[in-house]
């Protein structure tokens, strides 16, 4: 459990509510988006199993990796089926949140 993330999340939860309609329409809640990745990549992207860790990667590089899974230029067993589910804006938010850790 990362305390820093928890506090940031609580603040952002209150903050987001003020601009809820826009954020909701585009599903840009960073905590929820990244929470979809941690089931395979671990808390803060630090994997405790055989799936790769994705912490400590610069944002631009992460976006490029995710985009390459999304457009199929990079192959994989499963990321090619996952990445296309997220909009470009969502991938930006995810990469920003992971890189910020």
């Amino acid at each position: 459990m990362n305390v820093k993330l928890g506090i940031a999340a609580a603040v952002s939860a209150v903050f987001i509510s003020a601009q809820a309609s826009t954020a909701f329409a585009e599903n840009l809640n960073a905590d929820l988006l990244v929470s979809n990745c941690v089931v395979c990549h671990g808390d803060d992207g630090i994997s405790v199993g055989s799936t790769p860790s994705i912490d400590g990667i610069a944002k631009d590089r992460l976006v490029a990796m995710l985009q390459s899974f999304k457009d199929g230029s990079r192959s994989g067993t499963i990321m090619t089926r996952i990445a296309p589910g997220y909009s470009d804006a969502q991938l930006e938010v995810i990469a920003g949140a992971l890189a910020g850790n």
Partner: protein
């Protein structure tokens, strides 16, 4: 969507007096940490444990209580691998110390009833717990509709569809079976928890038989004419278990009329099937407490898809297998994903928000065909008020190399390690 915070709810949140009463009534010495709103979670499975952790993560000052009768939880995920002899029981057993360590009050008790007016739940011990919002994740219960098969008799022909004692019994029966025996698996009709589960189980039992009792076989007598990841399973079975697994669709099985757990016989309108080990899996409905609380409409609990608030009882949220989440399957990963959306919504609503920010979910169900041959089905959904709309996903592609299948088997273990850390801490 807009949700009105009732004046009463706001006062409960704002007023410290309510908190004092809660402790006085329950006589609880420690109680949850924090001084914020009170969230009570019913059930410490994939949905409940995740919800407890994420409410605390999103709202560190929230007072969270989780009620679960068991002191430790055996996961259904990887229980088929246990049946196949690939992992031991300790690997799939988790305790709640990681959740307590976050300041959640984990109570080993059973919720007996709900008073939605007073916003309290009463426990088996007699304790009465107040909540500002309640999250209910009780999993499934069974419909005992086939003559000869009920809760008591199921111990002899275990369904093993809630992991624990029956999973161990089923493994023991497999170990005691003579070579040349027939294992019958009778999967349930839709909807049920873990759509690929029965077919992964067939694979893992076939692995055990092929390695230890090579003259034996698995016969699947289905109540459906098609099943999850069917093409991928069939490809894997053809390659690995040609002589070991036979699948019979519902139209050829006919209606099951009777089960004799002593002779391990399953009778249909047209035939009688004798097994050496019988794994009958009953049809399912929401966990009993959801029915008792009045949260159901028919077998399952209707909910608002963006907050998971019950459509029947305001202030109460239902997640996991018990809830109707249009578009998503009943799985541990889905329950985990729903719990996070629900936790985020609950924290926002109790912090005075009138609209929730976001609902995006995902799920992956890995299945092991052999220890070195994995397949998966995955999806990403964007939540709307009507349904979770799938934006990507699908089943592992056909005709892949051995290396691809071996990698998916490896990543299945990685998923298990990381998701159980996410659920239980």
């Amino acid at each position: 969507m807009t949700i009105k915070t009732t004046r009463r709810e706001f006062m409960k949140v704002a007023g410290a007096a309510g908190a004092v009463t809660a402790f006085a009534v329950t006589g609880c010495a420690s109680g949850p940490s924090g001084s914020g709103p009170r969230v009570v979670v019913v059930g410490g499975g994939f949905g409940g444990a995740t919800a407890a952790r994420y409410v605390k993560k999103f709202g560190p000052d929230f007072r969270v209580t989780m009620i679960e009768p068991k002191s430790s939880y055996v996961t259904c995920p990887f229980s088929n691998a246990y049946l196949g002899g690939i992992v031991d029981l300790a690997t799939i057993t988790h305790n709640y110390s990681g959740i307590s360590a976050m300041g959640v009050d984990v109570r080993q008790d059973t919720v007996m009833s709900l008073d939605a007016e007073a916003q309290t739940v009463t426990l088996w011990s007699g304790a009465v717990i107040e909540y500002d919002r309640l999250i209910v994740s009780p999993g499934i219960d069974f419909k005992w509709t086939i003559p000869g098969y009920d809760e008591t008799s199921s111990e002899l022909a275990p369904h093993a569809w809630q992991a624990g004692g029956q999973t161990v019994t089923l493994r023991k029966q497999l170990e005691e079976m003579d070579d040349g025996g027939t294992v019958i698996i009778a999967p349930p009709g839709n909807p049920f928890r873990c759509p690929p589960g029965p077919y992964e189980r067939a694979s893992m039992i076939a692995h055990y038989l092929k390695t230890n009792k090579p003259k034996s076989k698995v016969l699947i007598l289905d109540r459906k004419d098609k099943f999850s990841k069917q093409g991928a399973f069939m490809e894997g079975w053809k390659k690995n278990y040609a002589d070991y697994i036979e699948w019979v669709p519902a139209t050829e099985v006919g209606t099951i009329t009777n089960i004799d757990v002593n002779t391990k016989t399953l009778a249909t309108e047209m035939d009688t099937h004798k097994a050496d080990v019988l794994n009958f899996i009953p049809n399912q409905k929401a966990g009993a407490i959801a029915h008792k609380m009045g949260l159901t409409d028919g077998d399952w609990c209707p909910v608002d898809l963006l907050t998971f608030e019950s459509k029947v009882i305001p202030g109460v949220h239902v997640i996991g297998d018990a809830a109707v989440v249009t578009g998503m399957p009943k799985s541990g990963n889905a329950a985990n994903s729903e719990a996070k959306i629900c936790a985020s919504a609950v924290v926002q609503l109790l912090s005075g928000a009138t609209e929730v920010a976001s609902a995006i979910s995902s799920n992956t169900c890995y299945s092991l065909v052999t220890p070195d041959y994995g397949i998966s089905v995955t999806a990403v959904w964007q939540g709307t008020a009507e349904k979770y709309a799938k934006t990507s996903g699908g089943v592992s592609p056909a005709d892949q190399s051995d290396g691809f299948r071996a990698n998916e088997a490896k990543y299945a273990h990685g998923w298990y390690a990381n998701i159980t850390a996410d659920v239980f801490g």
